[in-house]
Symmetry: C2
Subunit: 228 residues, 2 copies
Amino acid sequence: MALGVSPIPFTLVVYILGVAAIIMIFLWNIHFRGGFAWNTSHKPLIFNIHPVLLLIGPIIIGGEAIISYKSLRLKKEIKKVIHLVLHGIALLLGIIGIYTAFKFHNESGIKNLYSLHSWLGIGVIVLYGIQWLFGFVMFFYPGLKSSLRSKTLPWHALFGLVVYALAVGNASLGFLEKLTFLENSGLAKNGTEALLVNFTAMITILYGVFVVISAISSPTGADDYAPI
Amino acid sequence: MALGVSPIPFTLVVYILGVAAIIMIFLWNIHFRGGFAWNTSHKPLIFNIHPVLLLIGPIIIGGEAIISYKSLRLKKEIKKVIHLVLHGIALLLGIIGIYTAFKFHNESGIKNLYSLHSWLGIGVIVLYGIQWLFGFVMFFYPGLKSSLRSKTLPWHALFGLVVYALAVGNASLGFLEKLTFLENSGLAKNGTEALLVNFTAMITILYGVFVVISAISSPTGADDYAPI
């Protein structure tokens, strides 16, 4: 199903959507939700860290990591390190972001792990971690034999894209869940904040779609899919 | 990114997950939600039709339509008709299911089209319809020239899988939204019904993942991706 087209236009769209999503998530959490705090009596400020880190980490930086082989004109070895490091940062921000949700729940007396968003979130971060570790061992250090790498690479790419799609889906669940809570507490269903959250979610979903299309477009260099 | 493996084990998993999801959605809406009605003073019985039709239509039958080229050992021409007819049924059930959500809202005095689930749902059903019409015209009647079909087919497959992934993501949003409404009205967050709904959503997501893996696995017959 590889597409015989250049990835460049798609990766440009990814950058534009990514910048838009980051601006919108900060606008939402600073202007409408009051900003961030780690130790505070106003507990929602702890929660606000969660969507920002999860969006910037696994979704935006994770997406850039996926398309780094297509968007950058660098040597294969450098792109591999960038792919690995960006996914590592994405994973770390994801873990810290999930921790802030637990911290907020625990300090506010809210149950943990009852919703689909939380179930899928734990599943996705575990799969993301496993994928990163397997990728490190198989393709970086110590690395499989060349023939085995060739066989393993399509599965690494498939599993990575599935986990990424689940992450984008779960981000959407998070936007909907948080907004539904706010609307149940009186937020206007067609108000400015509700529109902003829904549009941020739509931009996030589009970002994910364009990351996947960039990933399956033609390689920028002939050696991009060489197994070493 | 084509996988050099047989699709048969994956399509078997799809069947098992599909049967499980159908049993669970009926169990939820009949046993826990009180069943179905079209004209009734108890309006939630109208809504109950919505998740059942959307799950069985675009998700289950739509998934079977996607993997029909891989799961069936029939002539290419017959599989094409099955692909087309199953997607047509999926689309029709989707449209009726969406209509029931509007009917429920209108008769209950609930706003339409304010949530991410509704926005994405309208987007997905429109894209599903466009994809079906383009597929019909390009590959069935009157059909493009052979050389043009070969060029168009990867885009048809990609666009179809993207729309399908969005449909599965939006089904998850629907499960989470409905359950959050029920929990806000007093349903136990760790009760039997909440667990059933979350597990149905997880099975639905897994179903979608295995549909996509089946679709990108190796063809069952050498002529499966021939353009005619």
